[in-house]
Every structure is written in C-alpha cells, then in structure tokens.
C-alpha cells in the first residue's frame, strides 16, 4: 500500500488543494526546507513513544499484580505511571505535534522556512529537559501534581525551548504568503498561544508560588484538561482538517461549520476542566460552570463530526486505501465518541459513578490515544513520503500497525470503561466491602495489560517502518512531488 500522491487537479479553495503546478513545486520546496527539523522531531517522538510504551506496560501489569518488579523503588507504581504519562505527553505527543503541525503550518503559509537552526536547538533542549524530568520522576523528585509531575528544575528549560518553538511557529505564520488563512492555521496558531499560557500559569500558581488550598486543584484541572482541549485537540483537529481534504482532493464540506467548531471549542472547552472536581471541596457554582461548559462541548464536537463526515461521505474506499486517512478517520470518529462520553461524564449523576474509577483512565486513553495519537500516526504517514521523496517500504507493516493499535486501544477503552463502571457502582454501595471493589477490577485491569501488548506490537511495526524508510539505501525518487506518478494502492 503506498501513499496515493494527490496529482489530480482539485477544486481550489485555498493553496492546499491547488492543482496548479506552480503551487506544487512551491510545496516541494517548502518540504525540502523543513525536512531536517521535521525528521528530527519525528525521530525524537518515536523514541519517546517506545519509552512511554515500556513504562506503560510496567505500570499496567503492576496495577493488577503489585509484586511485579515490586522491590525497585524507582519502578514503584506511582512513579512509573507518572513517568509513562510524561513520556507520552511531553515526549511523544509534543514532538509529534512539533513535527506535524509546524510542517503543515509551513506548507499552509506557503513560504520556505528559515532559521531551522533554532528548531534544532530548541528541540534538543526540549528532549534533554524531558529526559531529565522523567528520570527525575523515577528518582523520586516528582511533584505529584497530575500532568505536571516533572520536577521544578526542568520547568525553565521546557519553557525556554517551548518559547523558541512557539515563536518559530508564529513567525512562520507572520511571514506567510497569500491572503487566505485556512482553518488548520487558526487551530495551530491558537494552540501555540494557549499552551505556554496554560503551562506558565499552572507552574506559577501550583509549584513556584502556590495558591492557597484548593485553588491549586482548580488551577491543576484548568491546566490538565486544557492541555487536552486547547493543545492536543486543536493540533489534531487542525491536522485532520488539512489531511482529509488533501488526500481526498476535495474541499472541506462547510467553511462555516469549521468556523463554528473553532469558536465554540475555544469558548467552552477551557471552562470544562473543573468537572474533574465534581463533589470536591470547591464552591458549587464553579462545578456547575464546569458542567455547563462540558455539556456545551457537544456543539463543536457534533459540528466537527458533521463536517468531517460530509467531506468523507462517498469516498470511504479512498479512506480505507490511504494509510493516512485510515488512521485520521479512526481518530476523528474517536474524537466524536470520546467527547460525547466526556460530556456525559460531567453530568452529576454519571459522575457520581465514574469519578475516582478506572472509567476516567479509559476515557483519557480514548482521547489521547484513539483520537489524538491515531491522527498523528496518520499525519506521519502523509508527511514522511513528502519530506523524504520516498514511499513507505512496507505496506504489511502499516497494516500491522493499524490493526494492532485499533484492536489494542479498542480492548483498553472497553475494558476500562466497563471495569470502571462496575468499580464505581460497587464503591457507591456501602454494603460492599472496599476490598471487593478492588478485586472486581482485577480482570479488567488484566485486559488493559493485554491491550498494552497489542499496542506495543503496533508501535514496533511502526518504528521499524519509519527507520527502514530513513535508511539511505532505500529507493529514492528524485524531484518534486508533482513528478511522482499516482500509484495504485496495493491494499
């Protein structure tokens, strides 16, 4: 199965679907100017993905078999679990975002990129800082603040490197060519602004000059939920808005729906985080605000779903053939599902059961993996051939990657949702001894370990394919993308 390179003229709604040869040559030039930096971030992200996967497996097994590696303090559950989360968030996800979003941004801005040196420096600092941070967590310097576990001595490094990367992205936008600003660009631009703001406020108000009492908790969930909603989500949606029309060669269904989706997301998502504190020691009005916002999230979600669906409708064959779209559409569908479940979880009566259980953990993976990560995989399948002017070496490995990941995450999400629900129902019945709630979850936690095995195999297939493709011996196709002939999909 090779990537179908879009050469057929497409209706032009922006620079991205142009059939104009001039524009296509320009894109090839941009790709070449971005190659080194994008590949650098990509390789980093894959290393982190593997590291995070190993940590995840250890944590997953420990959750049902606590004696597994039980003698090692640095691998105790509380630490590996946090190391896993941070490896995935700051290592895998952020590097993947830097690779994918900056590359798409550069393409949409239609300008060859300059100052790549800055990206290498910033990227190196980022990865060094993340490594120190994760080793720090394992060594016992973690903060035990959810999503901000890295010790405070790496904060300045992360902030500095992010500042450089974010500034680079904004500069790319500032010096864009052409008038039209495409929807992906708003998402990326907004996220590039939101993330540093969230991170700085959270670090200051929780770690450096801690606010009093549970104001910390509110800040914590404002941050943690918004990392998903205002950083991962816009990045993945921006990529999807770019890739779906691009691969299908037709414009996005409705421009107005994408405007609506953007603004409703911007408005509602950032109030929703307090739903993690329902029933907690904070004023009730705050919780109510969080619940209202969480329910309002139905608007951007449904609007996005309709928009994507209407774009894809009639082209399901192409979606299935294209590795990019198979992953991206899987991700986009997961986005709809996980967001609707998320809105439901914010309702007090549902939350009473799901809060404090593995249901939430399942939900988090539904979002970060089934939605975000799958879209990033899809984007990488699209990006690599264009950066390297080569095709993916093995269609079989792509198949394996897709199926192991799709089945793996499916098992995990179902297992943790069901197990978590049972746990919550039992916990709310005071006649059931607590230890019985613990025992009841064990089979479901074991199903998560099985799912972890699947995901690991999928990631290995992916990594092999990527590094194989990078090998210089691999067949190289000269010239800009436009000269490549469309190949028949083998799958």
């Amino acid at each position: 199965m090779s990537i179908a390179v879009q050469t057929a003229p497409a209706p032009s709604t922006g620079p991205y679907t142009s059939g104009d040869e001039h524009v296509r040559t320009e894109l090839s030039k941009i790709d070449r100017s971005m190659r080194g930096a994008a590949i650098f971030f990509l390789i980093s992200s894959i290393f982190w993905l593997m590291a995070g996967t190993i940590l995840a497996l250890i944590a997953a097994i420990k959750a049902h078999s606590p004696d597994f590696l039980g003698a090692y303090e640095f691998l105790t559950f509380g630490r590996v679990r946090s190391a896993h989360l941070n490896a995935m968030v700051f290592g895998w996800s952020n590097n993947a975002i830097f690779a994918v979003a900056l590359w798409i941004m550069a393409r949409l801005c239609r300008n060859e990129v300059r100052h790549n040196g800055m990206l290498y420096i910033a990227g190196s600092i980022w990865n060094i800082a993340a490594t120190i941070g994760i080793v720090g967590i394992l060594a016992g310097h973690g903060t035990s603040i959810e999503w901000l576990e890295m010790p405070k001595y790496v904060t300045p490094l992360l902030a500095l490197s992010y500042a450089l990367i974010g500034a680079w992205g904004i500069m790319a936008f500032r010096f864009r060519k052409g008038e039209h600003v495409y929807v992906s660009q708003w998402f990326f631009l907004a996220a590039l602004f939101w993330f540093p703001w969230l991170y700085t406020v959270a670090q200051i108000m929780i770690v450096f000059i801690p606010a009093r009492g549970t104001v910390q908790a509110i800040t914590n969930w404002w941050f943690a939920h918004n990392v998903l909603g205002l950083w991962f989500t816009p990045m993945a949606l921006g990529a999807a808005y770019y890739l779906i029309p691009k691969v299908l060669g037709k414009p996005i269904h409705s421009y107005y729906l994408s405007v609506l989706a953007f603004w409703s997301l911007a408005l509602f998502y950032n109030w929703a985080g307090v739903h993690h504190l329902i029933g907690g020691p904070i004023p009730v009005w705050l919780i109510s605000a969080g619940i209202v916002a969480s329910v309002m999230m139905v608007i951007p979600v449904v609007v996005t779903a309709i928009n994507h669906h209407m774009t894809v409708v009639g082209s399901f064959g192409a979606v299935w053939r294209s590795p990019t779209l198979r992953f991206v559409v899987f991700g986009a569908m997961s986005y709809t599902l996980t967001s609707l479940i998320g809105s439901a979880m914010a309702l007090r009566s549902v939350n009473e059961v799901t809060h404090f259980t593995h249901f939430t953990v399942g939900h988090a993976h539904h979002g970060v993996y089934a939605f975000f990560t799958m879209i990033m995989f899809g984007a990488i399948y699209f990006m690599m051939p264009r950066l390297l002017q080569r095709e993916w070496p093995s269609a079989t490995l792509i198949h394996l990657h897709f199926w192991f990941c799709a089945v793996g995450i499916g098992i995990m999400v179902v297992g943790l949702h069901v197990g978590g629900w049972i746990q919550g129902m039992m916990m709310n019945d005071p006649d059931i001894a607590f230890i019985d709630t613990v025992r009841a979850t064990v089979p479901w936690l074991q199903s998560r370990s099985v799912s972890g095995l699947f995901l690991t195999l999928g990631h290995i297939a992916f990594a092999i394919n990527v590094f194989w493709m990078l090998l210089p011996a691999n067949r190289k196709v000269e010239g800009p993308t436009l000269l490549e002939r469309r190949k028949e999909a083998e799958a």
Binding site: S144, F193, W271, G273, G279, G280, F356, T357
Partner: protein, 215 residues
C-alpha cells in the same frame, strides 16, 4: 477567515475569560481563608481561646507528606470527602462530614487526588492510628489486606540480622511474609515519616461552614 485581529482577540479572550472566571475568582472568593474555631461567636468571629482548625501538620508528619508525594500515592488515593448522599463516602466511614476548602488551606501542596483504587485517606488518622498496622501494610499490603493491589513498599524497611536482643522497633511480620529466620524488619526514617503523616490525616473537628452533626 481572514479577519486576523478578531482571531487574535478571540484566542486571547477565550482563555483569559476562563482563567478569570475559574481561577482568579476562586482566588478572590476563597484564596485568603484562614484558620478558625469550630463555632463562631454571635458576631461571627472566632472564639478567643478555642483551638484553631485546621491544624498545621509539623515535623515527621510533614516529612512523610514528602514521601507520599515522591512515591505517588496520590494516583490511587484521594483526600476529599464528598457530601452525604453523593457517593457513599460517609457511609464507608471516610469522614463524618464533607471536606471544604478551609480544610486544605495549610497544605503547601494540595493532593485531592482523582483516583480511588484505594480508599480515601482524608481521615485515615482518625480511622486507623495504629503504627503496627501501617508498617505491616506498607511492608506488604497482603499481610493486612489479602487481595490488595496496593504496591509493597518493602524498600522503606531495612532487613537486618537479629542481634543479641531483638530490635525494639522491629515490625511484627507473620510467618508467610517474613524475610527469613534470624532476620528482622526495621522501619527506616521514611517509613516512620509516612506513618506519622497517615496518622496526621484527621478531620474530627467541625468548621463553622461544615459542622459535624451528632446523630
């Protein structure tokens, strides 16, 4: 969309709005709470001479909090009691009343937690003040709670050969879990600190806004 100023303003104000609404307002509303007495006088002031709550945890317990943070207990244990009728927190004996913002004001790191793989620990010091129980439990949770998924924290204990006299602080370990003949299990300072922290987690006091109602 090509109206960039609008885009930038939108990006800025949406987040500014939620930050103001959620965080700044909270900070203003209850970011300055102080200790108070269990009941107030007629004018609504703390009663002079009465003990002030919540109490500050000090010394060894404070060090134990650090151990709690660095081992990541928070990923399985919450420290918050929900109101009666919402969940079964009170019925399970996790607290006689709901916990409120004032209960947390003296903690420099608030660890409300979001998981209850294990029970809530807001009142573990009231429920179970036994040193021996906690040491056995930390050394290996299966001793006290068969089937538990809590990790063993045996690395917080020193296993040594029994000297002329058994060590006065040796933890009583049942046969099946004992490291072996002629050996004894001694808590390290971190284990002692963690137990002291557990015992300091108490909520047996009333607050004016959250009185304990005698049944």
């Amino acid at each position: 969309m090509n109206n960039l100023p609008l885009l930038f303003l939108g990006i800025f104000f949406t987040l500014a709005f939620s930050w103001t609404g959620l965080i700044l307002t909270s900070q203003i509303q209850f970011g300055k709470l102080v200790q108070t007495t269990e009941v107030l006088d007629e004018e609504g002031n703390p009663i002079e001479g009465d003990p002030l709550y919540p109490e500050q945890i000090v010394g060894l317990a404070q060090q134990g909090k650090q151990v709690y943070l660095d081992l990541g207990c928070i990923y399985c244990h919450s420290q918050q009691v929900r109101r009666p009728g919402f969940g079964a927190d009170t019925e399970r004996g996790w607290g006689e009343r709901q916990s409120v913002p004032r209960d947390y004001i003296l903690q420099d790191r608030v660890v409300l937690g979001t998981m209850r793989t294990g029970p809530d620990l807001m009142t573990i010091g009231d429920r179970n003040p036994s040193d021996d129980w906690h040491h056995q439990h930390f050394y290996n949770p299966q001793i006290t709670s068969p089937g538990s998924t809590m990790p063993p924290y045996a690395f917080l204990y020193r296993v040594q050969e029994v000297g002329v006299e058994p060590h006065p602080r040796a933890v009583q370990i049942p046969e099946a879990f004992h490291p072996g003949e002629g050996l004894e299990v001694i808590p390290t300072r971190r284990a002692d600190a963690l137990v002291a922290y557990m015992k300091s987690l108490r909520m047996g006091y009333s607050l004016p806004e959250a009185p304990i109602i005698e049944q």
